[in-house]
Each structure stands twice: as structure tokens, then as C-alpha cells.
Amino acid sequence: MSGYIVRRILAGIATLIVTTFLVFLLVAVSGNPLANLMANPHISPATIQAARLQLHLNQPLLERYWTWLTGVLHGNFGISTTGQPVGSQLGARVLVTLRMVIPATVIAAVIAIVIGVVSAVKQYSITDHVLTALAYLFYSTPVFVVAILLKDFLAVDVNNAAGHTLFYTIGQNNPGVTGTWSVFVDALQHTVLPVLTLVLITYAGWSRYQRASMLDVLNADYVRLARAKGLTPRRVLYVHALRNALIPVTTVVALDFATIIGGAVITEIAFGWQGMGQFLLQGLTGPVSPDTNVVQAWLVVAATAVILFNIIADLLYAVLDPRIRYA
């Protein structure tokens, strides 16, 4: 097993290098970040030449990638097209995004498993129909629609009803808040709606998977046998059925991490958070774009997370299903 893990991690590093190389080429050829500067008659050719040298745009593509790669291995993510070091912004932005993504993933997974199991066990009951209807509704609603509904309608109504601002809809925190408790409360007031947005659009799909796989298992012969030999319904459900029904869902949850990151990009834009997603979009469509170093920094963080979750998905698969062996 440990040999397998080492091989997967090595393969993951190789994947990371290939991925960053491909996206680097893609971003680099997709446009010239200095195009806007060159179109501006007030900027002298000398300034533009200096910017070109600073961004290594004078080098051939392969050399630029090598410069970037060796830089990253030394902890230097390069500078953005606006002249700031990318690495110095990275840590804070990752934390901002994680503050949204981690609670959302955990809450959504727990809700999805509970709802999926309840729906399957009480298949075609009123409970199942209501839960199914809700799951369908949220699964069928784009992130940005949920975000707009929460911030432009729900938050406005709630804040009006409360008479003061209970939920903030723009930014990840208010500047100038001091004191541990006040900072925590302030962060919470900003975090509730974005996390709720991600949870609502994420749990729904997972609960359908959980329900589907639970139904498959409940109809399996070994569950029928377990019932026939007189085990208690509780034991059949938790020991014989649920453990097997979790296998497909763990994969889906782990693999959907990339989707959550994608959802987080849009949620960040909708709620005006200065996280990784906003960083990416700024690098792609900002005034001085495309900004290869900014996009690459986002990519390194996001791709590493996705690769790690893929490995975790496969390991969980082997842990949960003893029939699967990785040599």
C-alpha cells in the first residue's frame, strides 16, 4: 500500500509539471499583457521595454517556463504584471478561500449522506419526495443564481427585519475590527452566506448519489440475506448497507473538489471576496492581462489540491471496499 501511495504521489508531481506547462503555454499564447500599455501613447517605449524585461517576455516560451518553474521550486512565484510579488499575496488569499471551501465541503458532505440515506430507506415516502424535490431544486440552480438570491433578496430582507446588518454581502471581513471575539463574529457575518451558497449547490448532487447507491445496496442479495437471517434493521442498515453505499459517494465527494473550487471562484466574485478565485479572474481578465504568474500560482494551488483529493479518493476506495487491492 505504501509503495502504491509513493507511486501515486510521484505520478501526481509529474501531472502537476505537465499541467502547469500546458496551462503556461495556453495563457502565454492567449494574449500579450503589454498590449494595453503599447496602445497607450503616453507610455514611452522605454517603460514598455522595462516591463517586458521584468516579466521575461523577451525570452522564448520554454525558457520562460523554466524560469518560472525554478523560481517556484525556490519559493518565488514571480511578479504580477502590475509589479507586485505574487507569492506575498498567495498565503492570505488561500486562507480566504479555504475559509469558504472547507466548512462548505464538510457541512455539505454530512448533510448529503444523512439525506441520501433517509431518502433511500424511506423510498417514495413523503419525506423522500420532499427531500428529493429540494435536492433537485438546489442541484438545478447555478451558483450565481443562489448567490444573487441570498445577497440581493434574502440578506436585504433579513437585515431590514433585524434593523441592523446581520449578514454582510460584500467582502470577506470589515477592515479595522479588533479583538478576537469581534473579529470572529465579523468574519462569521461575512462567511455565512457564501458558505450557505456553496453548501446548497453542493449537497444536492451528492445526496442524489448517496440515495442512488444506497438503493442499489438495499436491493442487493447480501442485504436480503442479512434481513432473512434475522439481523436487526439497524444492523442491516449501518453495517451491511451503509458501508457499501458510501463507496461511490466518497469518490464523488473527493472528485467534486475541483467543482467546489470552481464554484468558489464564482461565489467569490458574487460576494466580492479577495480570494484565489478573484485572483485567477484578475489574472485572466484584469487591465494588464493575461498575467501568467498569477494564473500559474492559482493553478499550482488548485491542481495540487485536486491531485491530492484524487489520491485520497482511490485510497478511500480501497479502505472501504476490501475487494479492491492496490499492489
Binding site: T15, S140, V145, I148, L281, A302
Partner: protein, 345 residues
């Protein structure tokens, strides 16, 4: 939905009384004795089994698995409702513009008016008729999503099946490719490419191919996972023992057993495609003006969401309706194609 058992062309196929798939029914010997798949066989002599049944005055009336699935599907209320809504949206968005007096590009002299008899969904601040825009947006969104699902399902199921069944180096090679596509976060590549290429005409076609090339990996992983656990099951071992070919095992046993998962996932792919396509457009990187889709409409409605809420509500409702209907159909197909959930019809 194609027949999940396209095996009647296989020279290996021998008519068998598949337990559970045939019903014993009384009837005149020889009359309509063998129907469905068996009837399509170019074999002149009836099988020994059928002769035996005929001798006893009983005929095995076999129904194809496709027929049984179709029967279950048409008894599934939500699936029919979903199919109805989807077809309604499809017809409305393709035929509707022919009869509605305004086109989606037309600028009227009504600015930001609410829904009325003249402008069914009201108008935006520029003077566009929102109903005409929503119809066109729905058509753009649906055709993009359908193309995505077809291409992504074919690529994903094929690669997942090969990797899950053959294992070893095939699995390694194919899964490293899917890892690569999975690890390149979809949105980044989409944003880069969409930013560069969606500016041209027919942006929907380009966006669709982009999404398909990046979405097939989910299907591949799912089919591989299903095959990995199925191939260890006793009935596959039994097939190996009687010398069945790989082709037969994959087509006759693994794919039918994975069909529910494939179909549910293909349907989810349509829904996901609509979601991502709309999200790209919301960020301003998908469908480009003057063309509109439901995402660009929601994005332009967001700014006035509090003052002119219909500009947000109508396109948002149509996105949700389109995805909802597709999901209903998917769930119905799942119930219909899952042989462990047979209901007597």
C-alpha cells in the same frame, strides 16, 4: 436511449431463457412464441427450449430489456413530467420565436417595463423584449448542453470501461490521462480558452466542445470504478470459466450492470453543462453579445435585481426549469434501467 444490450448482432449470441426476463404466458403453440431479440436472429430452427415450451402448451414471451425499460419509464410520473417540460422548452425556444412579434436583438421603445400583455416578460433598460431574449437564450443553452453530453459520454464511458476491465497498464495509462484532465482545474482552462476564442461567431459550438473535452473524466472515473468492483463478482468469474470473450463480458454483463450509473451520469452531464456554460456567460467569458444565453441574461439582470426583479427572475427560472427537467428524466431512466428494481408491469 439506445438498447443497452446491442448484442443481437453478435455471432456469440445464443437465445437463452434469461431468468427473470421472460414471462411465462399461456397461448397457442407457435403463435407469437418468440418475440423481441430472439425474433431478430437469423436462425430458422427454434431453440430446444422454445420447442419444449411449445410442447407443453406454453410459450416464453420474451421482452427485450429495452422494451422493459421503456415500459418502466413511461410509468414514471416525474420522468414523464421532466421529459414533457424539456420538450416544451425545446419546442418553445425553437418554434416560439417564429410566432412572437419581437426578436431578441430588437430594441423597442419600452425601457425597463414590467411584464405585460405586449411584452410577456417585460423589457430591460435598453429596450430589449425579455421574452424573446429568454427564448433565444434557452435555445442556445440547450443545444450547447446536449452536444456536451453526447461527446463527453462517449469518450468517458469508452475510456472508463477499458481502464476498469483490463486494469494493469491500460488502467494506468488511461487513468493518468484522466488524472491529467481532472487535475487541470476545469474552470481555469475554460476561462483561458473562452477568454480567447468565444469572441468569434458560433461561440456556443466552441464552448460546447471545450466543455466536452473537459467533462468526460467524470464519466470515465465512474465507469472505471463500477467495472473495478463488478469484474470481481461471481457471475463474471463464471463467464470467464465458460470461456466467454472479453467483448461478450463487457457488452452483455458489465455495461448493462453499469448502465444505470452511465445514464444517470450522462444526464447529470447535461445539467452540469448548462450550469458551467451559464456560469461562463455570467462571468462574461461564454456566449458573447449580440448572441445571448440564460447566463448572460441573469448577469445583466443582476445589476437591477432589486429594482427590476423580473430581469433576474425569468432567465433564472428558465435555467432552473431546464436543468430540473433534465434531472427528472435522468432519475426516471435510472429507475427504468436498473434491473434490481424491476417492477411488474
Amino acid at each position: 436511449m439506445p438498447d443497452p444490450l446491442p448484442d443481437s448482432h453478435s455471432p456469440l449470441f445464443v437465445p437463452e431463457g434469461v431468468p427473470g426476463y421472460g414471462e411465462l404466458e399461456g397461448g397457442a403453440p407457435g403463435e407469437d412464441g418468440l418475440r423481441g431479440r430472439a425474433a431478430t436472429l437469423p436462425v430458422s430452427a427454434p431453440s430446444a427450449e422454445a420447442l419444449e415450451a411449445a410442447r407443453q402448451g406454453l410459450a416464453i414471451k420474451s421482452r427485450s430489456q429495452f422494451r422493459m425499460a421503456a415500459d418502466r419509464f413511461i410509468h414514471h410520473k416525474m420522468a414523464l413530467l421532466g421529459l414533457g417540460i424539456f420538450l416544451f422548452l425545446l419546442l418553445l425556444s425553437t418554434i416560439g420565436p417564429l410566432f412572437y412579434p419581437y426578436s431578441y436583438t430588437e430594441i423597442t421603445n419600452q425601457f425597463g417595463t414590467g411584464p405585460s400583455a405586449q411584452h410577456w416578460f417585460g423589457t430591460d433598460t435598453i429596450g430589449h423584449d425579455l421574452f424573446a431574449q429568454v427564448l433565444h437564450g434557452t435555445a442556445t443553452t440547450i443545444k450547447t448542453a446536449l452536444l456536451v453530453a453526447v461527446v463527453a459520454t462517449i469518450i468517458g464511458a469508452l475510456i472508463g470501461a477499458l481502464a476498469g476491465y483490463y486494469g494493469k497498464w491500460a488502467d494506468q495509462a488511461l487513468m493518468r490521462i484522466t488524472d491529467l484532465v481532472l487535475a487541470v482545474p476545469l474552470l481555469a482552462v475554460l476561462l483561458v480558452l473562452a477568454n480567447k476564442f468565444s469572441k468569434q461567431a458560433n461561440s456556443w459550438f466552441f464552448v460546447a466542445l471545450l466543455l466536452a473535452v473537459l467533462l468526460w473524466t467524470y464519466m470515465a472515473r465512474l465507469v472505471r470504478g463500477t467495472f473495478l468492483s463488478l469484474r470481481e463478482r461471481e457471475f463474471i468469474e463464471a463467464e470467464h470459466a465458460i470461456g466467454a470473450s472479453d467483448r461478450r463480458i463487457i457488452l452483455r454483463h458489465l455495461i448493462p450492470n453499469a448502465a444505470g450509473a452511465i445514464v444517470v451520469n450522462a444526464t447529470l452531464t447535461v445539467a452540469v453543462a448548462i450550469l458551467i456554460e451559464a456560469s461562463l456567460s455570467y462571468l462574461g467569458l461564454g456566449i458573447q453579445p449580440p448572441d445571448v444565453d440564460l447566463g448572460t441574461l441573469v448577469a445583466s439582470g443582476e445589476g437591477d435585481a432589486t429594482a427590476l426583479p423580473w430581469l433576474f427572475y425569468f432567465p433564472a427560472a428558465f435555467i432552473i426549469l431546464a436543468i430540473l427537467s433534465v434531472n427528472f428524466v435522468g432519475d426516471g431512466l435510472r429507475d427504468a434501467l436498473d434491473p434490481t428494481q424491476r417492477v411488474s408491469t
